[in-house]
Symmetry: C2
């Protein structure tokens, strides 16, 4: 049996689902892959539970899952303690073949991720923040730009990172992008709908509902962040677009992504409640856009577009009959138009959000890394 040590940062929804899936699939991983995943450390914002020697057993993991579901902090838990810094945890708990998994949403993990790679460990990111900070950090985390040297080790560094779930949850977007690029195929355009929340909104608008009504309903159902402007502003989609663009080798920063949100910037000044109350003032504008779109055989979709050297995020008119046009509900979709995949693009679609599908994608990344040097 081959041990696969795992160090987990982040015990929110995705982190907890990942732990549940690791526990649930022990037999599968042992029998089919000869792998025994060992969770050596679980870290939240300021605490960690560790067992570097044997790994936390399933009973401990289930305790942690339940405790975190109820809102506890690991530093207060019998199994845990205050942790100084994440790189220190990697230092203490890491061993050969370790996979450091970032299921947080903070850029504070960057030093620990870089430290892990220096130690020749492997990393899996569900977290977009590290990949959307400085270009240099992106390059180091993904080893893009590493040129071959006499030392084979730098090349192998390329095999030690995975970040599939940063775009489209478990959909194989990054894997496909990397395959296209590695084959030398010229990727001319990537276009997609990467927000289930905004897809839900667009479908509601298309059905004739007022913008304010759809946003309020989505908010009530928990489809949006507590402050819906976190979705409606498009920043989350912009991060995904940047990750895709950088995957093509474009040297861009967040500031280079042209983002058009679904509300005017002046509404950022309002409190959440005031914003929710003011929504109807946007209804007429959206009704008009949807109607003129329909008259032209088009529909409104909130998309990310990467083409040429540019990266653009915002409401877009697409042909009603295109894959993006036919997309409904919360599914994500990505189209790759390339030298070989044209005029019809390579299209991937399906559930693009949800903690469980995301955690399953993280687990796929972990298993893949078991086979890299």
């Amino acid at each position: 049996m081959h041990e696969l040590p795992v160090i987990l940062f982040g015990v929110g929804g995705v982190g907890r689902s990942l732990l549940q899936q690791i526990v649930a699939h022990r037999s599968l991983h042992a029998l089919r892959y000869g792998l025994a995943l060992q969770v050596l450390a679980v870290c939240d914002r300021d605490g960690a539970a560790l067992d570097p020697s044997h790994g936390l057993d399933d009973e401990m993991l289930c305790q942690i899952i339940a405790y975190k579901s109820a809102g506890g902090r690991i530093s207060n838990h019998p199994l845990g303690g205050a942790q100084g810094d994440l790189a220190g945890i990697v230092d203490i708990a890491g061993r050969a073949g370790a996979v450091v998994v970032d299921c947080t949403a903070t850029s504070a993990t960057i030093p620990a991720l870089l430290f892990a790679l220096e130690r020749r460990y492997k990393i899996v990111m569900a977290n977009k923040k590290p990949l959307t900070s400085d270009q240099e950090v992106y390059d180091r985390l993904t080893a893009a730009g590493v040129t071959g040297g006499d030392d084979a080790a730098p090349m192998r560094h390329l095999g030690r990172s995975r970040w599939e779930t940063t775009v489209g949850a478990g959909l194989p977007v990054i894997a496909t992008l990397n395959r296209l690029v590695s084959s030398g195929d010229e990727v001319q355009r990537i276009a997609g709908a990467f927000s289930g929340t905004l897809g839900y909104l667009m479908t509601g608008l298309q059905a004739g509902q007022p913008f304010s009504a759809v946003v309020r309903e989505a908010h009530r159902l928990g489809y949006t962040e507590p402050d819906p402007r976190d979705d409606l502003g498009g920043v989350d989609v912009a991060r995904k677009a940047l990750i895709l663009a950088r995957g093509l080798g474009r040297q861009l920063e967040m500031g280079d992504v042209a983002v058009q949100g679904l509300y005017p910037p002046e509404m950022d000044e309002l409190s959440v409640d005031a914003f929710m109350q003011a929504l109807p003032c946007l209804d007429d504008s959206f009704r008009g856009q949807v109607q003129s779109a329909a008259a032209a055989g088009k529909v409104l979709r909130y998309t990310a577009q990467v083409a040429g050297g540019a990266c653009r995020v915002g409401p877009t008119l697409v042909d009603a009959g295109s894959p993006l046009g036919r997309l409904s509900g919360t599914d994500n979709l990505v189209e790759f138009t390339t030298h070989w995949y044209s005029p019809n693009p390579l299209v991937i679609q399906g559930r693009g959000a949800g903690v469980d599908a995301t955690a399953a994608g993280v687990l796929s990344d972990i298993i893949e890394l078991a086979y890299t040097a």
Copy 2:
């Protein structure tokens, strides 16, 4: 620079396109990945050109490409000679890290592929025949069923095979299937259209054209094999279905795949010309099927379905509004319905045939294998 030795079996359309792409993308592979692909041997049916020490240079490769395009045999070429057997070529030319690439369509490569794996080399298959022979051969070639032992090497064996292009050319079908399975997701159903030729036919039927007319047109355009029964009989799709089913762990053989072709078996007795002349006798039947389908809001598609323990290939009625129903032309499409991807399946679609897209997929597989141990 890290050398990546390649041994190629098969210099038909896909093999030649692969060599062209290897030559064309040397800079990309060097600069972005630190890889120098070296083609140590190129083998056709009964000949081989070798340079185990340095690899065949680009001028030699281009000569071979041109020579094979014109119909020559490598054994007659100045750079080549008669080759005894493919395993012998692997023995002579192979070295650490070598990737043996099978772009043939014969099961005669099986011994050489198994020998390569025993030598701890890596293999890429575009060839479906080895993966659709005995279950035991499939297991050994994909290392499925390898259980963990004290020796880590058997587990790592799992990382040394790729066969993405056996289903859907360059579409990431196998990679996605493997990711779903490795995460423990329960794959309930795989359904797809895996023949561009038959997709073209279905679209023509749906447009009201007689079956005989569409087949003759496709034949004239070179969309079908010289004997169109090789497409219309569904055996090629059946092989793909079997590969998918085996990817889920189903223990099936070709005889277990229920195949319904698009012509009655008695027409197998006819010569090709007689078959082409007899096609109109099938027109009424197809016209009737298409019309009653339309009346029920459905359309006819030639699909493979893997569900439960069964594997079924043949003409199928699908909802006109479903992804398969909206598919037109020669694109391929696969739907994965799983525990996490339901009710909406994970869908991948795009060009599923063509020597260049297939060769690009083979090249992606080769590059991925550079990072496995």
